[in-house]
């Protein structure tokens, strides 16, 4: 029987990372993935990643996927696609469906990296065509170039719900509302702000009570919920939609581990049924590892590090790596993982409420309730004691108000205007002593699209605002449109005075608008006359 030193199940971020490390140690490695395309969720993640350089921050998920595939190829990893693992049996035997045959393989070590499956919630009509998982929406738009629908309601304000809402608009769909039963936004505030300024209304403490339609979705009814998440009669609101998108969390897809006989535990903090593992992902069965979401829901950056750790541990298990090298390399990875596991969204912070940031600033309640910062928040975060901000000449304004692990803005500014420091969850700080040249690298490097360049002295009575723009059609210089506030409200006319596309910006267009100077700190988005972001017409109808 064909035997590999390592068989990896799942060619996502974690599985590929594991395979690469193991193969680089000299192991023969096969990766099986049931999908036609490798990369797992990476190829559906078209946003720029958070973290720092070592976590491949500011690089878009699908590009990280391309890099991983190239590295795997170079390291000699055999990746089998359309290869569905039917089961894992005794003696580390793996039965795989490849095309029209079932093939038996053996391995000396196995790493299960099957990822996660979407959770679902039920409501009247949830089985109607048009009710889909957020993952389904991502797959349709980002892998196959098809719109999931024209008018979409998103349920779930975690990072998946927020990111997919933005992606829906990028694909040309209209997002009519973002709904969550929780009383506050679950995901990163910067992700929420990105969609709020496009005009998407947030309905927190609301849930879907009915999907309407006979053969497919034609509308949706939401209701406010009480503290026990029970819908309150009389609070129903109706939206005409053709698609309802559910983003209500993920569960580890751990069935293979269970079948293989690993000790399993039910751990709500890790997302459900997960294997008992040591710090390198080794299960109760020696030589059988679990890496990535399958052993606890996190995000792709952590999954990649955990995959590398399991790959190295598997190499050490079979003597391809000596103990000292293993310890050294694992220690480095642990530091990298630790730096991601800090701040308000760290796995250990689940369920906690933060009143203040690490810097001692009261967090924005508006961001948590409506998805955008209000004027008082801006005052508090911009004019805070630890940063000096100019109000003349071009300078960055950073609207990053939560402690999340991310620091590319610091590296992006060659002038030293932006400081994050060693702890990457610290809020970026502006040092006005150094002069901004307006290069825009900070804007393009900010995965949360939370940096703007403002020049209050652009012209008498007018300010210029440079903002990140990732929609089509890209605005043209000289074009006239509408300036939108952080909540997506029209503020008045805006003229495009500059449009910059550079390779270094990586598909983020830097659009500079001219607005009356009093809007310098309120205008944060641009809406063309013939709208691209899919949100056209809606505001006119709604107001």
């Amino acid at each position: 029987m064909k035997r590999y030193d390592l068989i990896v199940v799942g060619a996502g971020p974690s599985g590929l990372s594991a395979a690469i490390e193991a193969a680089r140690c000299g192991m023969s490695v096969a990766v099986f993935d049931e999908n036609a395309k490798p990369g797992g969720q990476l190829f559906k993640q078209i946003h720029k990643f958070f973290g720092s350089k070592e976590h491949q921050a500011k690089i878009r998920g699908f590009k990280i996927g391309e890099t991983l595939l190239a590295e795997a190829d170079e390291a000699g990893v055999e990746v089998f696609l359309n290869a569905t693992v039917a089961g894992i049996y005794l003696d580390k035997e793996v039965l795989v469906q490849i095309g029209a045959a079932m093939e038996h393989f053996k391995a000396d070590t196995i790493i299960i990296a099957t990822g996660a499956a979407e959770n679902m919630i039920t409501f009247d009509g949830w089985t109607l065509p048009g009710v889909i998982g957020a993952g389904a929406a991502q797959t349709m738009m980002n892998l196959y170039g098809i719109k999931p629908g024209q008018r979409v309601l998103m349920l779930g304000s975690g990072n998946v719900g927020l990111v997919v809402s933005f992606q829906l608009m990028q694909a040309g769909c209209e997002v009519v509302a973002l709904v969550d039963a929780a009383p506050k936004v679950g995901g990163y505030g910067v992700h929420a702000a990105k969609i709020a300024r496009c005009g998407v209304p947030f309905y927190l403490s609301h849930t879907i009570t009915k999907a309407e339609g006979s053969d497919c979705v034609s509308g949706v009814e939401i209701s406010q919920v009480d503290e026990d998440f029970i819908p309150i009669p009389g609070t129903q609101k109706h939206f005409d939609v053709d698609t309802i998108c559910l983003a209500v969390g993920l569960s580890p897809m751990s069935q293979l581990l269970k079948m293989a006989g690993c000790n399993m535990v039910d751990d709500p903090r890790r997302g459900g049924q997960v294997p008992q593992v040591d710090e390198n992902g080794e299960t109760s069965i020696p030589g059988l590892f679990a890496a990535g979401d399958v052993s606890g829901i996190e995000e792709a950056s952590s999954a990649m590090i955990k995959g590398r750790m399991s790959g190295l541990a598997a190499a050490a298990y079979l003597g391809f790596l000596n103990e000292q090298d293993k310890d050294n390399r694992l220690a480095d990875l642990e530091v990298a993982l630790d730096s991601l596991h800090q701040g308000m969204f760290a796995p250990g912070s689940k369920g906690k409420t933060f009143a203040k940031t690490d810097e001692g600033i009261a967090v924005s309640q508006s961001l948590l309730k409506k998805g955008y910062l209000d004027d008082a928040d801006i005052e508090r975060f911009i004019h805070r004691p630890d940063q000096t901000i100019k109000n003349s000449g071009i300078h960055p304004v950073i609207e990053c108000t939560q402690n999340i692990p991310c620091n590319p803005c610091q590296d992006a500014c060659t002038r030293g205007c932006i400081k994050v420091g060693k702890t990457i969850t610290a809020l970026p700080r502006i040092d006005a002593a150094n002069s901004c040249t307006g290069c825009g690298m900070c804007i393009a490097s900010c995965s949360g699209q939370a940096i703007f360049l403002v020049d209050e002295d652009y012209a008498p009575g007018y300010a210029s605002i440079t903002l990140p723009y990732e929609f089509l059609p890209r605005p043209q210089k000289g074009e006239l449109g509408t300036a939108l506030s952080r909540s997506g409200q029209p503020l008045g006319h805006a003229e495009i005075i500059d449009v910059r596309n550079a390779k270094a910006f990586d598909q983020t267009t830097l659009v500079t608008i001219k607005v009356p100077v009093e809007q310098a700190m309120t205008a944060r988005f641009y809406q063309p006359k013939t709208n691209a972001a899919g949100q056209s017409g809606k505001k006119e109808i709604r107001q």
């Binding site: 049931e34 999908n35 036609a36 078209i46 878009r60 699908f62 499956a117 979407e118 089985t127 109607l128 065509p129 048009g130 009710v131 889909i132 998982g133 993952g135 389904a136 929406a137 797959t139 349709m140 738009m141 980002n142 196959y144 170039g145 098809i146 719109k147 999931p148 990028q170 694909a171 040309g172 053969d215 497919c216 990732e470 929609f471 089509l472 890209r474 598909q507």
Partner: protein, 106 residues
């Protein structure tokens, strides 16, 4: 109208050859190699099947081959997960009714 002609980040989607296939005896077009469900979605078709017990409509739900809601009869074989089954020129796709084909002429 459901196809994204150009995407701000991804540019143009790579597509296979434009082919024809049959959907309940109606001729349709799609790109070879894309999932059957994608070709149907592009044409605006939402209902893939009707359930056995309650005769309720179902369509795409997970789009990754897991939930089995999007199954249809493909070339005579029922319960084919259309979201992960590549489109081939000349394929015969039928709306599933329970575990058999829906009578479309009725």
């Amino acid at each position: 109208m459901n196809r994204i002609s150009e995407h701000p980040i991804l540019g143009e989607t790579e597509k296979g050859q434009l082919v024809t296939f049959f959907m309940d005896d109606k001729m349709m077009e799609g790109y070879a190699g894309e999932p059957i469900a994608v070709a149907l979605k592009a044409a605006g078709l939402m209902v893939h099947r009707y359930t056995h017990k309650a005769h309720e409509p179902r369509g795409i739900f997970c789009a990754i081959g897991r939930c089995t809601d999007c199954v249809m009869i493909v070339d005579g074989v029922p319960n084919i997960r259309t979201c992960i089954t590549p489109l081939v020129a000349g394929m015969k796709v039928q709306t599933q009714d329970g575990v058999t084909a829906l009578e479309v002429n009725k």
